[in-house]
């Protein structure tokens, strides 16, 4: 188990954050669909859990949610029931195979693909009432830049963009980053490159994106938005295997290169985002 081998552990971080500040909220998003955003969310949650963090994954992809499919969970109670007042929030929080908690959107959430003031406040209420109970809340947002996606991202102080090295994915990721810089005045965005062919690819890609950002996207401070490369997940046949079986990669083949990379990513997130108090 990796938790034994990581000396700084989460101990201080979790308690230092305290009940008042609550969970660190991280939005996981992508410019383009189908790049492994939900896969990363679920497995990252498992990896963070293994490191001792209390993790909640919130299905914020209201229109086209499929966290349930990735996790092979089909609960009777979902966020939809909470929004419609049919059940309490507590009943909708369920335990995922990786030991973390999930709040699934459920079908019927189509109605929330428009961002009405009610949807906004319901969403914010959910996050507010869950925040004190966890160390990390991962928002698995939709792809693209619709108003719902941008709204759910806006609830998170940290954004992790998932992209693959494919040109279309990178273009869409760049477009999303640009919107985040301009609309949400973000100074930095974090990035993980999924399905890389060889070591160093992600860093080179992030470097390239940063160059374009420096040239075209300046933030309020007059400086370019900073793209923080958090790691790569190598292309790995075990991923496809796990996805097809609807199992978490971290449980199915914890030793495979992609699983190790996700554990490493969890370590880096813990180190940079969770060890700081408040």
């Amino acid at each position: 188990m990796s938790e034994a081998s990581s000396p700084p552990l989460s101990t201080a971080s979790a308690s230092a954050a305290g009940p008042s500040s609550g969970a660190r909220i991280i939005a996981i998003t992508s410019g383009k669909g189908g790049v492994g955003k939900t896969f990363v969310s679920a497995n990252l949650a498992a990896a963070l859990t293994r490191r001792g963090q209390r993790v909640l994954v919130l299905d914020a992809d209201l229109g086209l949610a499929n966290l349930d499919v990735v996790l092979n969970l089909y609960p009777k109670t979902t966020l939809h029931d909470v929004f419609t007042g049919k059940s309490s929030l507590e009943d909708a929080v369920i335990a995922a195979p990786g030991g973390f908690s999930v709040l699934l959107a459920g079908s019927g959430m189509v109605e929330y693909s428009r961002l009405t003031p009610e949807v906004r406040s319901q969403f914010m209420n959910v996050i507010q009432s869950m925040a004190p109970r966890y160390d990390v809340i991962l928002l698995d947002t939709g792809a693209g830049i619709s108003d719902v996606v941008l709204f759910s991202i806006s609830l998170a102080p940290e954004v992790l963009i998932v992209a693959t090295p494919e040109p279309t994915s990178l273009t869409d990721a760049y477009a999303a980053i640009k919107v985040l810089a301009m609309q949400q005045k973000r100074q930095h965005v974090r990035m993980v490159i999924n399905q890389t062919a060889r070591p160093g690819d992600g860093r080179a890609i992030a470097g390239q994106l940063q160059q374009v950002l420096e040239r075209f996207v300046t933030t309020d401070t007059g400086r370019a938005l900073r793209l923080i490369h958090m790691g790569d997940i190598p292309a790995d046949p075990a991923v496809r295997e796990a996805v097809m079986r609807r199992q978490l990669l971290l449980l199915q083949t914890p030793g495979c290169p992609a699983a190790l990379a996700i554990s490493q990513l969890a370590g880096k997130i813990e180190e940079t985002l969770l060890s700081r108090a408040g």
């Binding site: 189509v110 619709s146 090295p165």
Partner: protein, 233 residues
């Protein structure tokens, strides 16, 4: 086949029973799909078109624009010139609108003095221009309500694009467009308000840099290898 008075009519018109039945079906279709006054699609038909469009956009991610149009101060026309003048105004506006849209667009009378158009495959950049063209066309068309009186009316237009990649509902889409229509009215009528799309345009220059010479795509697997073979850098 011969019961009631219908066959007599069909015989009179010189139609065979099959032709008669076809005429009857066509007539019923018109009745169920068209607005009798203006000849435009009625609300039921429009609803079906919107639903189809939402499904298409959710799959394809293409842009589609919905415009809601409302004749400004229509009640005054009715009150001052009578309801038949009001009907003439509706008919002329309907005709003007139908001259402004493409064959692939669906134009409907949404109710009262409100019209709606759905424009499939309408790029975000052109939405405003299309709506402006419609608004100007109506404003520039005089309406003769009798031999001595000619009116001119204006319309307010609200528009919203379908949410790409997201399965929404027709109600939500029309709500968003309606909301913009209210805004156009509130801002003084005879104008166009279209919901703003988040600007994510990536220019050719940016794309050029994203995939430009700074980063040789050595990591893009086979694709990169192929490109290297093709071009000599």
């Amino acid at each position: 086949m011969a019961d009631g008075h219908a066959p007599a009519q069909s015989l009179q018109a010189g139609l065979t029973p099959t032709q008669y039945l076809q005429t009857l079906i066509d007539g019923l279709c018109d009745l169920s799909l068209k607005d009798p006054l203006t000849g435009l699609a009625n609300r039921r038909h429009f609803q079906a078109v919107l639903e189809r469009e939402i499904d298409r956009v959710a799959r394809s991610g293409e842009a589609a624009l919905l415009l809601m149009l409302d004749i400004d101060r229509f009640k005054q026309v009715n009150d001052t010139h009578g309801h038949s003048a009001g009907d003439t105004v509706l008919q002329v506006v309907a005709r003007t609108l139908s001259q402004c849209v493409r064959p692939m667009d669906t134009l409907a009378r949404f109710g009262g003095e409100e019209f709606a158009v759905v424009l499939p495959a309408c790029q975000a950049a052109f939405g405003k221009a299309v709506a402006e063209r419609i608004r100007r066309a109506v404003a520039a068309t005089p309406i003769e309500i009798d031999s001595t009186t000619s009116l001119s009316v204006t319309i307010s237009i609200g528009g919203a694009f379908a949410l790409q990649w997201i399965r929404s509902t027709t109600t939500l889409w029309t709500d968003r467009a309606d909301h913009m229509l209210y805004r156009a009215k509130a801002e003084g009528r005879n104008r166009v308000c279209i919901e703003e799309q988040p600007d994510s345009t990536v220019s050719a220059e940016e794309k050029g840099m994203l995939f430009g010479p700074l980063y040789t795509p050595s990591g893009w697997g086979d694709l990169a290898a192929m490109n290297l073979n093709d071009s000599a850098h």
